[in-house]
C-alpha cells in the first residue's frame, strides 16, 4: 500500500497527537470514567492505523519493526500477570489489590460520596490498565501493519 496525497498526510500528522493523547487519557482514567486499557488502546491503535493508511505500509514498515511490536505486546501481558502475582507476594492472594490503602502510588482511598475524581486511587487497577493498554496498542497496530504489508505484496504480484 503506497502513501496518499500530501493533504491527507499533513492532516493526519496534525490529528495524530490529539488522537494519541485522547487514547492515553482514556487509559489513564480507566478506573474513574468509562473506558480503560482496552478502549483507550484501541483509540491509540486507530490513530497509528491512520498514519499507516496515509503514509503507506512501506514507509511505516521501514520505521516500525513488527518484531519489536510483538516484544512490547508480550511485555504488556507479562506486566499484567506479574502485577497479579505481586498481589500474592505482597498481599494475600492472587490478584489481590495490594496497593490500596497504602497512600503510595495510586493507593489513596477516597472519601465515600466524593464527586471529585481523584486519579491517585484504585491501587493496581490503573497499573493493570496501563499493561492492557500497552498490549492492545501494539497488538492491534501490529495486526493492521502486518495485514497492510501482506496486501501490498499481493498487489505487487498482480
Amino acid at each position: 500500500m503506497s502513501g496518499m496525497s500530501k493533504i491527507v498526510k499533513t492532516i493526519s500528522g496534525i490529528a495524530f497527537p490529539f488522537i494519541t493523547i485522547y487514547g492515553l487519557y482514556i487509559i489513564a482514567h480507566g478506573h474513574l470514567t468509562p473506558g480503560g486499557g482496552f478502549q483507550g488502546g484501541a483509540i491509540v491503535a486507530s490513530g497509528c492505523a491512520m498514519i499507516l493508511v496515509s503514509y503507506g505500509s512501506i514507509w511505516t514498515m521501514n520505521r516500525v519493526r513488527e518484531k519489536n511490536l510483538s516484544i512490547l505486546e508480550s511485555l504488556g501481558a507479562v506486566c499484567f500477570i506479574l502485577l497479579a502475582l505481586l498481589g500474592l507476594g505482597f498481599g494475600t492472594v492472587f490478584f489481590n489489590n495490594f496497593l490500596v490503602g497504602t497512600n503510595s502510588l495510586f493507593g489513596v482511598v477516597p472519601a465515600v460520596g466524593s464527586g471529585l475524581a481523584n486519579i491517585n486511587t484504585g491501587g493496581v487497577i490503573p497499573l493493570m490498565n496501563f499493561a492492557v493498554g500497552l498490549k492492545v496498542i501494539v497488538g492491534l497496530f501490529g495486526i493492521v501493519l502486518v495485514m497492510a504489508y501482506a496486501s501490498r505484496t499481493k498487489e505487487g504480484k498482480k
Binding site: 516484544i71 508480550s74 507479562v78 500477570i81 506479574l82 494475600t92 492472594v93 492472587f94 490478584f95 489481590n96
Partner: protein, 525 residues
C-alpha cells in the same frame, strides 16, 4: 520459613498458580526465543514441569477428600458466590492431571518434531495458552469463567490446528474448528444468560443450589450439552474432529485430545453438579440420551475408521469411537444415579467411564505420536504408500503395538481395565449396550491390525530404504506414554482406588461440591 510451610503455602495458592504459571510462561516465551531456540524449549518444558508438579501437589491433597476453593483478589470469604472462584474437587483434579501430562509430553515431542518449522515462538506461546485454558476450564467454579477459558482454549487451538499454513487442508481444518467452537461458545453464553436471568448467579454451586428445573433451565441444559458435545466431537457433531485431528501437527493433536476431554468434563459437570438432583425429574432421562449418543458415536466412529486410508484421519475416527465409551459409562451412571438398587452398578459404570477418559487420552495420544513419527521419518501419511517400516523403526513399531493393544481393550493394557468395567456395568443396565460396546472394540482391533500390517509389515520398500528411527525427544515422549499405559494396565486397582474412585464419588455426591460454597445446602446426599 521451612519446607513444610512453603508446601502448605503452595498448596493453598496452587489453584491460581496452576493457571498463572503457564499464562506467564506463554508471554515470556516470545521474549526468551529472541535469545536462543534451545533456551526457549527448555524454558517451556520447565514451565509445564512446574505446572505439572503444582497439579500433582494439589491433586494429592484433593484425592484424600478435601475440596479446595480459591477466591481471586481477596482472602475474605464473605460472599464467595459473587467473586471469581476456583473450586477443585477430585474430578477437576483428575482432569487437570490428564491435561498437564498431555501438554508436557507434547512439548517434549515438539523439540525434534517441530524443529524445522519457523514461527516456533508463536507455536510454544499458543501451546502454553491452550494449556492454561484447559486447566482453567477444569478448575473453575464459575460458569462465566468456564466460558472465558473455553474461548482461550478454542482460539489458541484453532491457530495451532492451522499451524502448517502452507498446507491448504490445515487452514481449512483450522477454519472449521474455529467456526464450530464459536457456535458452541455462543450456545454456552446464551445458556449462561438464561441462568443469570433466573438465579442472579454465575457461580456453579450457587446455580446448582437454586435450580428449579424450569422450562428455561431445560433449554439451557439442551444448549449446554449440545455445545459441549459438539466441542467433544460426539456423533452427529463430529465433522470437524477428523479434519482437525488429522491435519494438525501430531504434537498439537495430542493436546487437542486433552481439549476435547475438557469439554467432555464440562458435560459431566453440568449434568451431575449443576443439574444434580433435578436431572432425573425429566420425562426423558438425560442419562439415556448420553448412553444413546455414546452408542452412536462408538459405532459410527469405528465404521468410518474402517474405510480411511489416511493414517491420522483413521486414528481420529478411532478417537471418536473412544469418546463413545466414555459417554456410555458415565451416561449409565447418570441413568441409575437416583436408583438405590443399582448404586453399585452406577458407580462401577462411572468408574469405568472416568478411568476411560484417562486411558483414551493416553492410547489415542500414543497412536497420534506414532503417526507423527512416521510422518517425520517418511513425510507420508497415506496407508497405501507406506509399508515395511518395522525394519527401520524398531522402537516406533513397539510403541504402535502397545497403542494398538491399549485402544482395542486387550489385556494387559490400560484400555482393558476401563472397558471391562464399562462392559460389566452396562450389561446390568441392558445387555445390548455391552454387546455393541464389545463389538466396537473388536472392530477397533481389526482396524488397527490392518494399519499395523499396512505401515509396518510387508516387504521393504525401496523409497523407504534410508528411513531412520526418529530422534530421541520423540522417543522419550512416546516412551513416557507407553510406560504409563503399561503401568496402568498392570496395576489398574491402584489407579481406580486412589484416583478414579474419588473422582467418581465427587460427581455422584454433588452436594459436597455445593456445600463447600453454600454451607446451608441440604440436598445431594
Amino acid at each position: 520459613m521451612n519446607v513444610a510451610d512453603l508446601i502448605a503455602l503452595l498448596l493453598q495458592h496452587s489453584p491460581a498458580l496452576i493457571v498463572a504459571v503457564p499464562l506467564l510462561g506463554a508471554f515470556i516465551t516470545p521474549l526468551i526465543s529472541r535469545l536462543n531456540d534451545k533456551v526457549r524449549n527448555v524454558f517451556v518444558i520447565l514451565t509445564l514441569g512446574l505446572t505439572a508438579s503444582l497439579v500433582f501437589l494439589l491433586a494429592s491433597d484433593v484425592f484424600t477428600g478435601n475440596i479446595h476453593t480459591y477466591i481471586f483478589g481477596s482472602q475474605d470469604l464473605a460472599l464467595p458466590v459473587v467473586r471469581i472462584l476456583f473450586e477443585v474437587d477430585a474430578m477437576s483434579a483428575f482432569m487437570a492431571i490428564i491435561s498437564v501430562i498431555l501438554s508436557l509430553v507434547a512439548v517434549i515431542y515438539s523439540w525434534s518434531f517441530m524443529k524445522e518449522n519457523t514461527g516456533l515462538d508463536k507455536y510454544y506461546t499458543l501451546i502454553l495458552l491452550m494449556t492454561a485454558g484447559m486447566l482453567g476450564m477444569e478448575l473453575t467454579g464459575d460458569l462465566f469463567n468456564f466460558f472465558v477459558f473455553l474461548e482461550i482454549t478454542s482460539i489458541s487451538s484453532a491457530a495451532l490446528v492451522a499451524f502448517w499454513t502452507n498446507k491448504a487442508k490445515s487452514v481449512e481444518a483450522g477454519f472449521k474448528y474455529i467456526v464450530i467452537s464459536t457456535i458452541g461458545a455462543l450456545f454456552i453464553l446464551f445458556s449462561i444468560a438464561l441462568f443469570y436471568g433466573q438465579y442472579n448467579a454465575l457461580n456453579m454451586a450457587m446455580i446448582a443450589s437454586a435450580i428449579q428445573y424450569t422450562f428455561l433451565d431445560k433449554i439451557a441444559l439442551v444448549l449446554l450439552i449440545a455445545a459441549l458435545a459438539m466441542k467433544a466431537g460426539v456423533v452427529p457433531m463430529h465433522m470437524w474432529l477428523p479434519d482437525a485431528y488429522g491435519k494438525a501437527p501430531s504434537s498439537v493433536t495430542l493436546i487437542l485430545v486433552g481439549a476435547t476431554q475438557a469439554s467432555l468434563y464440562g458435560v459431566f459437570r453440568v449434568c451431575f453438579t449443576i443439574y444434580g438432583g433435578a436431572i432425573n425429574l425429566t420425562p426423558i432421562s438425560v442419562g439415556w440420551i448420553l448412553v444413546i449418543l455414546g452408542i452412536i458415536t462408538m459405532l459410527l466412529g469405528v465404521a468410518m475408521a474402517i474405510i480411511q486410508t489416511d493414517f491420522k484421519r483413521l486414528i481420529a475416527f478411532g478417537a471418536v469411537a473412544e469418546i463413545g465409551y466414555i459417554l456410555l459409562g458415565i451416561g449409565t451412571g447418570l441413568v441409575v444415579m437416583l436408583n438405590p438398587e443399582m448404586t453399585a452398578t452406577g458407580l462401577a459404570a462411572m468408574k469405568g467411564g472416568i478411568f476411560h477418559i484417562m486411558n483414551d487420552a493416553l492410547d489415542v495420544g500414543l497412536l497420534f505420536l506414532v503417526a507423527g513419527a512416521i510422518y517425520y521419518a517418511t513425510k507420508e501419511t497415506s496407508l497405501n504408500k507406506l509399508g515395511g517400516l518395522a525394519r527401520n523403526m524398531k522402537y516406533t513399531t513397539v510403541f504402535f503395538i502397545i497403542g494398538l493393544l491399549a485402544i482395542s481393550g486387550m489385556p494387559p493394557m490400560n484400555g482393558f481395565a476401563s472397558k471391562l468395567l464399562i462392559y460389566e456395568s452396562t450389561y446390568q443396565l441392558n445387555p445390548i449396550l455391552s454387546i455393541i460396546a464389545i463389538l466396537s472394540s473388536i472392530m477397533l482391533l481389526a482396524v488397527f491390525v490392518k494399519v499395523f500390517h499396512a505401515a509396518f509389515l510387508g516387504p521393504a520398500l525401496p523409497k523407504f530404504e534410508n528411513v531412520k528411527e526418529v530422534p530421541k525427544s520423540m522417543l522419550i515422549a512416546m516412551g513416557t506414554i507407553a510406560t504409563i499405559i503399561i503401568i496402568f494396565g498392570l496395576f489398574p486397582e491402584l489407579i481406580i482406588n486412589n484416583i478414579v474412585e474419588p473422582a467418581a464419588n465427587a460427581l455422584v455426591n454433588y452436594g459436597d461440591y455445593i456445600r463447600e460454597v453454600i454451607p446451608s445446602f441440604a440436598g445431594g446426599v
